[in-house]
């Protein structure tokens, strides 16, 4: 007989096994061969036949070798895993949790492979929401939350109003006890000429202690010493940027002198690159700082209010306590030194002590909070949408859950499993959302409308990533709760009862609640976007009161060194030269031209008191010195005429705005009338005769209104001040003459800096950038929200149709028309939509007042906007239900009955 053991040893590869195991395998298999051989012989087979049958036991030795080797390897690793898991579970506590988590994650990975579509739908929706939310959080964090980059930043304060006189500042320094340091900064632009092109440098004239407040360090030279502050400004420290740009970072500039506004100052140091002043945080960093002696006689006038004041509170002193001290102090000082501490109306000045971060951010904080609120609404809608999908999937998985329950899995275990799955979905979405946030923040910084300060600090850092993770976890729990609850109530017995799904009424209620919520939240966003859009349209259609096209303007710097007569001569020559440029139709000069400065702050000559026929009138009025061609150049709507040259020395000819004329002469035509005001000469108050009235001129921006203004001859009233801006109307494209204008100025004044050269149309477009930005952003949110709400409504209706398939089939079998079934489904959707619209309208009424600052001539509860938003949302929701409702009306009753 054959040696079976030898046969096995010859053909079977047992190198994977130890000797003892090899012997056993060989002996066992040899036994089997013997048994088969013996059985064959017992059945009457020949020895050859019996041997053939035995050999047929193992037709493929290689396959057996590989199977045994594989079993050996798998068994070893499974043993190891099982022992580890057993050990973890046996140890209880956090190890048990970790073991269960590992199992749940394995289960989740399996579910991804089985249902890739589910993930392909839910992850992008959530990623979009998380990405948008993380982007806006980064903005809010950089602007509102993150500490300013200074030591003891929470103790730094700023005084508001924006500027104060030096004597007032000195009084506060002497009498307050709440601060360990108070410093002032006078920010201005000074002329600097070195080489071919004159330029203006942003300059901060600072009192002692300023650099200490803001952690300044020198990169070369030194900072200010006490001696530097004696007398007129004569010592300067360069910013790092200006040092690099103007002097190539060369340290040899330290100790040299430069000319600023015609005055010689010595450069004693250059700042290190990390320094940023409060103005720098607001995007307007200085190029150079000059030491300012608070005792310098040139700045002692109480009306010369140029100083921004910063302070550091003493340890333990709150801003509220400091405010209280300031209120008491200003009342006392108003008694002792009224010429310094009382305003024009004779009232004590009110000073607000405000944390520096709040002062820098200002009203923009509300805008940022608004964006944060809007994006959180969007996030909630995305969560509701994903919850729909999870609930729908719950129906499909009911059997799986019931089977697992039958196999002994507890309700809590199943719920944990499903929550793990939903959190895994959310964290995956969070990962992609964080990637989207990088792009979002980049886009935000690039498109920043310019009215958000501290925007350089906006970035996706660890805090923003932590926010993304936290938001992902939270959303995973929120939309996973419903299916987890469902899983906890799954029963294995449902299998025997042949129940297709459990708790359908509860699930339907959940779907309906989600639909109503989505519609309501979307309507809030839509209403907000609608209000902004309405406001933007209003703003765009504001008539500025003059012909904006074909207007160019040049701000002339460096007028300080001219005498009054020199300025008059310069302007006369300049206007003649400019009018000779071929494409120039008209040219004029004014202190400021429209849109040169925009916003609520006024720069120039302000008067309040006027007398008409002996009666006093108080009207806050800007006085604008202009040359006689100003209105023709502007293309303004002028009634009456302009003066010719300076007119009668005794009576001042003036053009006034319609708003001023209505204040002083409400019931008669102002042309030809006279009033007293402006200033006094040796004969008493000046008499002004109105020769013309101009209407609707928006000088300070489209949203600033047409304010009371008196236009007076520049030659008489404008020449004494170094404020000069050239305005030019062209026959062609104004941008083409800008270089000619520069050259014309430099031909008359070679070293004159020209800090602001623009076309008025460009400036108008810039004014619309911020409103357009916010309108677009909120509109995008609203559009996405509506799309999600429509998708959620569609899905919920579809689910309802499937759930009621049997009932609808019976109705159809009993004779119900298609139209009546369609009507039934649409009435259901209509009810949900109506409820959502009502709740959304209430929500809008409560929240749209946060938009007030951003709205122009539109109230936060504008009826038209509300109405349009409600109708639009209702139409979108109804349209989304049409398709599933039509499907319901086409249910074949025979098919339904056959299935049952």
């Amino acid at each position: 007989m054959r040696d079976w053991k030898a046969l096995v040893r010859e053909h079977l590869d047992l190198t994977a096994f130890d000797e003892g195991r090899q012997e056993r395998i060989v002996e066992e298999l040899a036994c089997q061969f013997e048994d088969v051989h013996a059985d064959a012989l017992a059945e009457g087979a020949s020895p050859e036949e019996a041997e053939r049958r035995a050999l047929a036991l193992i037709p493929d030795w290689e396959h057996l070798s590989s199977s045994l080797a594989t079993s050996h390897r798998r068994a070893a690793s499974e043993r190891l895993l099982e022992r580890s898991a057993d050990r973890l579970v046996a140890r209880r506590g956090v190890w048990s949790l970790l073991a269960n988590l590992a199992i749940d994650l394995r289960f989740t990975l399996r579910s991804i492979r089985r249902a890739p579509t589910f993930w392909a739908v839910t992850v992008p929706i959530l990623a979009l929401g998380i990405g948008a939310a993380t982007t806006i959080f980064s903005v809010a964090d950089g602007v509102l939350l993150r500490r300013l980059p200074y030591t003891a930043a929470d103790r730094l304060v700023s005084f508001l109003d924006p500027a104060f006189s030096v004597p007032a500042f000195e009084d506060w320094r002497e009498h307050t006890t709440s601060y360990d340091l108070l410093a002032g900064e006078w920010q201005k632009r000074v002329d600097y000429v070195a080489g071919e092109t004159p330029e203006q440098l942003r300059t901060g004239l600072v009192t002692p202690g300023f650099f200490d407040l803001f952690d300044a360090r020198p990169a070369a030279g030194r900072l200010f010493l006490p001696d530097d502050f004696d007398g007129a400004p004569h010592r300067a420290v360069l910013s790092h940027g200006a040092w690099q740009r103007l002097f190539g970072g060369d340290a040899s500039v330290i100790g040299k002198t430069i000319e600023l506004d015609g005055e010689t100052v010595e450069v004693v140091g250059a700042l290190a690159s990390g320094f940023v002043s409060p103005q720098g945080l607001a995007g307007d960093e200085n190029d150079v700082w000059v030491a300012l002696d608070p005792r310098w006689e040139e700045i002692q006038r109480p009306g010369f209010m140029v100083l921004a004041v910063y302070g550091r509170l003493r340890d333990g002193v709150s801003p509220i306590a400091a405010q209280k001290e300031m209120d008491q102090l200003t009342r006392r000082l108003a008694e002792e030194r009224p010429e310094i501490h009382r305003n024009r109306r004779g009232e004590p000045r009110t000073i607000q002590v405000v944390p520096l971060q709040s002062a820098l951010v200002g009203a923009t904080a509300n805008t940022v909070r608004l964006l944060l609120g809007a994006v959180m609404l969007l996030m909630l809608i995305a969560c509701a949408n994903v919850a729909h999908v999870f609930l729908a999937r719950g129906t499909v998985r009911y059997h799986e859950l019931a089977v697992r329950s039958a196999l002994g899995a507890g309700g809590r275990r199943l719920a944990t499993q499903l929550l793990t799955e939903s959190v895994a979905v959310a964290l995956t979405a969070g990962f992609f959302g964080a990637l989207l946030a990088f792009a979002g923040v980049g886009a935000f910084r690039a498109l920043n409308p310019g009215d958000i300060p501290l925007v350089e600090r906006v970035s996706v850092d660890l805090r923003a990533l932590a926010f993304a993770v936290a938001l992902s976890l939270l959303t995973g729990v929120i939309f996973g709760l419903a299916p987890a609850w469902q899983a906890a109530h799954a029963r294995g017995t449902a299998l025997r009862d042949n129940r297709r799904s459990g708790g359908t009424r509860d699930r339907a209620m959940l779907h309906n609640t989600l639909v109503v919520t989505e519609i309501a939240l979307s309507l809030v966003l839509l209403t907000g976007a609608g209000l902004l859009f309405h406001s933007f349209v209003r703003l765009r259609t504001v008539a500025p009161g003059f012909d904006v096209e074909r207007l160019a303007a040049v701000e002339l710097g460096g007028g300080a060194q001219y005498t009054d007569d020199q300025r008059r001569e310069l302007v006369a020559r300049l206007l003649e030269r400019v009018e000779a440029i071929p494409s120039v139709e008209h040219a004029a000069l004014a202190w400021t031209v429209p849109f040169q400065w925009v916003g609520p702050i006024r720069m120039g000559w302000l008067c309040e008191e006027f007398r008409v026929d002996g009666n006093e009138h108080r009207v806050q009025t800007m006085i604008q010195p202009v040359t006689e061609d100003y209105f023709a150049t502007l293309g303004a709507r002028l009634r009456g005429s302009v003066w010719n040259r300076a007119g009668d020395r005794g009576v001042v000819p003036a053009v006034v705005s319609e708003s001023f004329a209505r204040e002083l002469f409400p019931s008669s035509d102002a042309i030809g009338r006279t009033f007293q005001g402006l200033e006094e000469d040796e004969n008493g108050p000046l008499t002004v005769r109105i020769v013309g009235v101009v209407s609707g001129l928006h000088h300070w921006g489209l949203d600033q209104g047409s304010e009371p203004t008196v236009y007076v001859p520049w030659e008489r009233f404008g020449a004494p001040m170094p404020l000069m801006s050239l305005l030019v109307r062209t026959s062609g494209e104004p941008a083409w003459v800008l270089d000619d204008l520069r050259n014309a100025v430099w031909a008359e004044a070679p070293r004159m800096p020209l800090p602001n050269v623009f076309t008025v149309a460009d400036r108008l477009r810039e004014l619309l950038v911020a409103p357009r930005f916010y309108t677009t952003l909120l509109s995008v949110f609203a559009a996405v929200a509506m799309a999600l709400a429509a998708a959620g409504t569609y899905g919920a209706t579809l689910y309802s149709v499937e759930r009621r398939r049997h009932e609808l089939g019976i109705r159809a079998a009993m004779g119900a028309e298609r139209a009546s079934i369609l009507g039934l489904m649409m009435r259901r959707s209509g009810t949900l939509t109506l409820l959502g619209v009502i709740l959304g309208t209430i929500g809008s009424l409560l929240t749209t007042r946060t938009l007030t600052r951003l709205l122009f001539e539109v109230t936060p509860i504008d009826v038209t906007t509300f109405g349009v938003a409600m109708v639009l949302m209702a139409l979108v929701a109804i349209a989304a239900t049409l398709s599933p409702a039509l499907r319901a009306s086409k249910i074949d009753p025979m098919e339904v009955l056959r299935t049952e």
């Binding site: 089997q32 088969v36 057996l64 199977s67 045994l68 068994a75 070893a76 299998l495």
Partner: protein
């Protein structure tokens, strides 16, 4: 004949069930599967032996050499305590699986 996938999914359950009351050797197990299934299910040594090896490595069954009078010695497999637990669990799973599949394909319970 049943597909290899269906056989593969049930062989461990069958082996555990067959040695529940009595220890048996590999050849006997294979013959019993064939006879009790009326020849519908057959496993050859190449298929069955690696399964026995794996189950023993996992600790569900234990092989022991037994020599009976007049017979050569053979390796008999018996259930371990762990094996009994696994058998009970696999029986429940098989039952639930049967019911679930029946519901899907529309067969009523017997």
């Amino acid at each position: 004949m049943f597909s290899p996938e269906m056989k593969k999914g049930s062989v461990e359950l069958m082996v555990l069930a067959l040695i529940e009351d009595e220890a048996r050797h590999g050849y006997e197990i294979g013959k019993l599967i064939e006879s009790r299934s009326d020849g519908q299910i057959q496993f050859n040594v190449s298929s069955l032996y690696p399964v026995l090896y794996r189950m023993e490595e996992k600790g569900w069954i234990k092989g022991r050499w037994v020599e009976r009078p007049g017979e050569r010695r053979r390796c008999h497999y018996a259930l371990t305590a762990e094996g009994r637990r696994v058998l009970a669990r696999e029986r429940r799973t098989w039952e639930a699986f049967q019911i679930a599949v029946n519901q899907v394909v529309g067969l009523s319970n017997a």
